[in-house]
């Protein structure tokens, strides 16, 4: 280093831009678990929805004629669609829950988060269709329609109606959870792609005139890039002689719940100093 006439700056912090792991890694899996339970319960309650009732239709003499009526979910295509869609959604949630933890081993291209987000989107749309169809059919069954001369059936088959409304409510809750999961995944996807762009190699030997830190007013006490200042704290590289720091820039990014601002500096050492890892602060010297 001293043999050349030019001072070579050891790149101390180059590989060391700390990527803060998101503190809420548990948020999406927990929501997915809840959504899985909600859609699963909706499927099961509606699929097992059945009620049989015997009513007296007419009386001939003293013998009452009885008719047995059953209310099953298969009688209404809207409820069949509801069961199918909720089953699909619960399977999707379960699968995505598993994939959430194991995808890093199988994916080399970064396509898996994108696939998860788009599958989430499709399932949300389909579940909303199923829920609303079942809800309106339930409303028809509960109130009837006087204009079309359709009688309500909920006064005769109360248990059937109550189970059906319970299933629809569970599916609505599952739908809300799935919408929030989808939104969070999409926002996280943006951050992932932005971090990829940020962490690619940047030439920091010259100050970058296009960098936004060249704007005049930022934080109090922040120095302009390229400005040299004496280090007040001893940099932990093993030599008590003074080093000067050169501001390199600022990295700031935002996750869904956290915001980080990192001030990056280069250390300019006087000639003849070979840096040595002293305390645990410096990770690597290359």
């Amino acid at each position: 280093m001293a043999s050349e006439g030019v001072e070579k700056l050891p790149e101390v912090g180059h590989e060391q831009v700390p990527v803060v792991r998101s503190k809420v890694d548990w948020l999406v899996p927990v929501l997915r678990l809840l959504a899985f339970f909600a859609t699963l319960s909706a499927t099961l309650v509606m699929a097992l929805n059945k009620e049989t009732k015997t009513i007296v239709v007419a009386t001939i003499g003293t013998v009452p004629i009885q008719a047995t009526l059953t209310a099953k979910f298969q009688h209404t295509p809207a409820f069949v669609f509801f069961v199918i869609v909720n089953g699909n959604a619960s399977l999707h949630n379960l699968l995505m829950l598993v994939v959430n933890f194991v995808w890093k081993k199988f994916d080399s291209k970064g396509l898996v988060p994108l696939a998860i987000a788009s599958l989430d989107l499709m399932n949300v749309v389909i579940v909303s269709g199923g829920v609303s169809a079942a809800a309106f059919m339930g409303q028809l069954g509960r109130d009837g329609n006087s204009h079309a001369r359709w009688n309500k059936i909920c006064d005769k088959f109360e248990t059937y109606c109550n189970h059906g409304s319970g299933a629809i409510i569970a599916s609505f809750i599952g739908l809300t959870l799935m919408i929030s999961i989808s939104t969070i995944s999409l926002v996280r996807l943006r951050n992932t792609y932005n971090k990829i762009v940020l962490n690619s190699s940047v030439d920091r030997s010259q100050p970058n005139p296009d960098h936004p830190t060249h704007q005049p007013k930022r934080f109090p006490g922040q120095r302009r890039p390229g400005e040299e200042f004496p280090c007040r704290r001893r940099p932990g590289i093993g030599d008590p002689r003074t080093a000067t720091g050169i501001t390199a820039g600022v990295v700031s990014y935002m996750d869904i719940d956290s915001r980080e601002v990192l001030f990056c500096y280069d250390l300019k050492l006087p000639e003849g100093i070979i840096p040595v890892k002293e305390d645990g602060e410096v990770e690597a010297l290359n």
């Binding site: 295509p77 169809a133 028809l140 069954g141 079309a148 762009v197």
Partner: protein, 162 residues
């Protein structure tokens, strides 16, 4: 922004606006009075809350599209617009689903519940409502394409790296 991109998204939103407005108006104007055995049947879209919901959702979607027609894409509200687009797709899709469910009962009846099909008596109303539902379906597909486009605007999907 490149002019062709702006033009493409403008055309897409314009088509979606047209589809949802036409769905709304066709459903509103569907009306039929039928006299059977001296009894007057009047079929309007307000008879069932499903069709009212359909009209409402399509009106909301057309208003939203009208406002958004004058926004350039790729501005700083990109995420908010993406979420709103997603909500519009959900609403439209749910309204279509519900109309199809009610329409199936109207056309085929439900023998287990004792509901007779009414399309035989008011078949012009039935056809009119069916056309409105088809327009709503086209609008729903167009809004979904707009959501895909919004996702592409908000994150550059072509920078996939190792």
């Amino acid at each position: 922004m490149i002019f062709s991109k702006r033009f493409a998204v403008f055309v897409l939103r314009f088509l979606a606006l047209g589809a949802s407005i036409s769905a709304t108006t066709i459903m509103i104007t569907s009306r039929e009075t039928v006299e059977v055995l001296n009894i007057k049947f009047e079929a309007k879209y307000t008879n069932t809350p499903t069709f009212v919901y359909f009209v409402l959702m399509n009106a909301i979607a057309s208003g939203y599209s009208l406002i958004l027609l004058f926004f350039p894409a790729k501005n700083k509200f990109g995420h908010f617009i993406l979420v709103l687009d997603l909500i519009m797709v959900l609403l439209l899709d749910s309204s279509i689903s519900a109309c199809l469910a009610i329409g199936q009962v109207a056309k085929k009846g439900n023998s287990h519940a004792g509901w007779l099909p009414i399309c035989g008596q008011v078949h012009k109303f039935c056809d009119h409502a069916a056309i409105a539902v088809v327009a709503g379906f086209v609008a729903s597909i167009l809004y979904f394409i707009i959501v895909l486009y919004s996702i592409h605007n908000v994150m550059n999907l072509f920078t996939l790296k190792n």
